[in-house]
Symmetry: C2
Subunit: 228 residues, 2 copies
């Protein structure tokens, strides 16, 4: 379903260049739940943003169900990002001047869902992540872990078939983190969602079907057991 | 050294109110290394910002070395925040248009350190946290964990006697997180720094001399062993 071949991402900075990805190839099959691990700076967020069609690689190919994402039309990409893929950003990327509810409603509004229905669905999803009593709080009126959960709720609200989550429990205590993980598992089992979770948490990695390891912008083969 | 009595923080939102802190009392002694743990939303960041003189409580008293912080003059507070306390924010609070080096230089510049010396010191501190090759990157040219480490470097650069760190390893893989923790330990042993670390990481809490637990805006007594 997800087929990446030879992905590179190179940033030019003056006379030097930073190779954030240096030739990444991987496959993720329909309904798999995989984790991506690796040291800080190893390329995880860069990889995830390419898989989420939010960024283009410098070179290499990325096919989603056989279709090369780099050749998709704008309207195709918009639908992909809005309805097919749910993306949880490492830095949340919430709208600062909107409430939790308005932030989570936004993808539904873009998908053309009528406002009464979108409001209800957004409230339910926020309740699912434990924020039923924080609907009208703006991001700066929420704790770090609450903001993170708003970002998670927003990624789930359009019933995506693929969830790409960038360190979704980094700001959560272990109990709240487990609740989020249980939610992901439930979606995975009940709705057969495909999940790719970038994580620093070995407990999450242990619960995934497969672990993809990155080191310095490349995938580490399973038999390479040096520390990351 | 740090003496908090009956701290409350109440946010009024229309007709409701949120009690982020509901009567917190605690002491932290010179050169102690304590961790603060508790569920998402339990009041940890709110407490830390009051202890860092970045916010005032709604009621209660906070004394630093016997001096009530709420009665300090502006210049006293400025010196306290700039030179005595190093604060690592949960959301980093970096200047988006400045490089890592410029971000870390800023507290030194405010302290009146000449620019050649401040530039050198900032570069050394960034190297200490593993970012020696990222000095000229702006925050959006850095990974999440790299931004977190810039925030840590900025908190250390003026040689503070108190470090208040809000989830300093939340975006770091375990190896990089251990390196940061080792750095804190080193500062604690060699320079007798007082550290208060808000953390979700039980490994960090285990390495501190004492663990302060928050639940719903109050400190949980040690003999209360219900889950947080
Ligand atoms: N400006 C505000 N207005 C209203 N409520 C607020 C405001 N700031 C924080 N809160 C609420 O106060 C409570 C405590 O927030 P705080 O940021 O201290 O939590 P925390 O323990 O740091 O959580 P986390 O582990 O998620 O970072 C939260 O429930 C939050 O929703
Ligand atoms: N716009 C940019 N310009 C230059 N370098 C960049 C840019 N964006 C990212 N990088 C570099 O690319 C590398 C990979 O970044 P990425 O955000 O993918 O890392 P990561 O694995 O997600 O790290 P973390 O665990 O800290 O979040 C980093 O070393 C970073 O400094
Ligand atoms: Mg990242
Ligand atoms: Mg917090």
């Amino acid at each position: 379903m997800i087929e990446a071949r030879g992905l590179t991402k190179v940033y030019k900075m003056g006379t030097t260049e930073v190779r954030a990805l240096n030739g990444v190839s991987l496959d993720v099959f329909q309904s798999e739940m995989v984790s991506v691990i690796g040291q800080s700076g190893s390329g995880k967020s860069t990889l995830l943003s390419i898989l989420g069609a939010l960024d283009l690689p410098t070179s290499g190919s990325y096919k989603l169900d056989g279709r090369e994402v780099a050749t998709m039309r704008d309207d195709e990409l918009a639908a992909l990002r809005n309805q097919r893929i749910g993306f949880v950003f490492q830095k949340f990327n919430l709208l600062a001047r909107s409430t939790a509810l308005a932030n989570v409603e936004l993808p539904l509004t873009y998908a053309g869902v009528p406002s009464r229905q979108s409001r209800k669905r957004a409230a339910e999803t926020l309740t699912l992540v434990g924020l039923g009593d924080r609907l009208d709080h703006k991001p700066n009126e929420l704790s770090g872990g609450q903001q993170q959960r708003v970002a998670i709720a927003r990624a789930l609200v359009n019933n995506p078939s693929i969830i790409l989550a960038d360190e979704p429990t980094g700001n959560l205590d272990s109990r709240t983190g487990e609740e989020i993980l249980e939610l992901f598992h439930k979606l995975h089992e009940e709705q057969k969602i495909t999940l790719i979770v970038v994580t620093h948490d070995p407990k999450i990695a242990a619960q995934c079907q497969r672990v993809i390891k990155l080191r310095d912008g490349v995938v580490v083969p399973d038999d390479d057991t040096r520390p990351l």
